[in-house]
Every structure is written in structure tokens, then in C-alpha cells.
Amino acid sequence: MSAAAGALPELASVYWRPRMTPERLRRRERLWTLTTLAHVVPFVLVAIVMVLLSPLAVPVSLAALAHAWLIPELYARRGATVTRSLTPAADGPERVSLGLLGDLVDHDARALHARTGLVPEPGRLGTWLVGEAGALLVHGRTVSCWCVRATDPEGARLPSGDRVAHLLLALRSDEEGFATVANLAFSGARWRVRRRLPKRQRAALDAVA
């Protein structure tokens, strides 16, 4: 995928952001891991210390452990929402848009989209799963959740196939620019994101893992 010569025009609207690169992405993934640890470790330590101090403090320890579990889960839940389906348009436009999207991808991607609502797209940064209002980027055991969407034309809501096609075309023309324009909602372990996805979308994550 191309770099500066074919850069996304939308980059002008986020001129202050450094262009995403594989190295920058890995740094941001590590930062998310550290953030998760910063939330989990103190609560786990509190849980251990409280039990050591007094067995009567077991309920407090359990509450601390629950916090250690819940906070990363809430982050992951927020990340997983990027693949949510939006309100569909009328049947006619939906069919037309899915026809166009089908022309842009191969048979396997079409089949996966039909089952999960996500289109797989291999890239330099990892394998993408593109949805209507965002995308997942799978890299090894890490999944990054990107919130990004097509801006609706005035007075018209785009059908689902067009929403995906917008993101797919932008991604294909400038992958790193796409990751620069999109907002990173969460990055973390694949298993953690998978748990928070709707059941039908888990198959998409399994397919590209």
C-alpha cells in the first residue's frame, strides 16, 4: 500500500498526528499493555495484602480482584464496539451496496462478510477486519480496535455495504494513513477482545488469527 504520494486526503484534518508506522503501532500496543498492567497490578496487590493482614478482609480482597478484572474488560468492551452494526438502510439500497462491496472483494471475504459483517483485508500492519464503523487490526496475539467511519452525505444515511466499502477503499489506498485518521479505541490481547465481540463476529477473528 502506498505512502506519501498516495496519502489519504483526510490526513489534512488530523495534521497534528504523526503518521502511523509499524514501529509507532507496536509502541502504542505496548503502551496499552502497560496501561492494563497499571490498572491490574495495584488491585491484585491490594487483594493479596488485605488477605495477609486479616482473613476478615476477604470481601475487600474479592472486590479488589473484581476491579482488576473489570477495568480491562471495560476497555476491551469499548474497543469491541467499533465492529457494531449500524441501523440498516432500506432493503433496496442495502442490496445495491452489498453488490458493490462484493465486487471489491474475493469470494472468501464475501462469505466471511455475509456471516460476520466484517471484511478481512491483509496489510502491512497486520490483518484488518473492516466493519461499518471501525476496524480491528490483528497482529499476532494483539488486536487493535480502530474507530473510523464514512461521513454521511447530507440527508442520506449510507447503507452498510457502502460504509464498509468506504473504509476498505481508504485502507487499500493508504493503510498507514488510514490508521492515522482512525482513533485507536483499545489495543490488547486477542482473547480479551474476542470475548466482547458479538458471537457471530468471533468467527471473523478466528479466521484471520
Binding site: 442495502e94 451496496s97 471489491l104 471501525g134 464514512a150 476498505l168 489506498s173
Partner: protein
């Protein structure tokens, strides 16, 4: 026959069709293309599997040119 389409609320709308040897159809397609650009659309052509390119002029030899809206972080 080449086509210029716009993804919109109807799925997509064909804005123009042209053949390179028909000057009138080319002229109409170029006008439609520029009008879309003026309204903030972005023109894309596909370049084989996994490849697409943003174009600023109407590529007359392409079978399909797709106009899309800008994307933005949510």
C-alpha cells in the same frame, strides 16, 4: 463503457458513463467528476486485489471510478 459512480444513500448512483472515443460522453463525465470533487467527494479506482488509488483527475481508461465521502475517526 466506463462508469463514474457515487456511493450514497441509494447504494450507489451512476453519475456518468463514457467511452474514450465519444467526446461528448467524456466531457459530461469530466464535468460530473469535478462537481463531485467540489462537493467534497474523493475519487478512487481499484488496482487489483488489495489495492486502490486516490485520483484527482478522471482516468478515462478506467472501467470504474468510485466517488466516496471522506472518512473520519469516530
Amino acid at each position: 463503457m466506463s462508469r463514474l459512480i457515487r456511493m450514497d444513500g441509494s447504494g450507489h448512483t451512476t453519475l456518468a458513463e463514457w467511452t474514450a472515443d465519444d467526446a461528448a460522453s467524456v466531457e459530461a463525465a469530466v464535468a460530473a467528476f469535478r462537481e463531485e470533487l467540489d462537493q467534497g467527494s474523493i475519487a478512487m479506482v481499484t488496482r487489483g486485489p488489495g489495492q486502490a488509488e486516490h485520483v484527482r483527475e478522471l482516468p478515462l481508461d478506467e472501467p470504474l471510478v468510485i466517488m466516496r465521502r471522506p472518512i473520519a475517526g469516530g
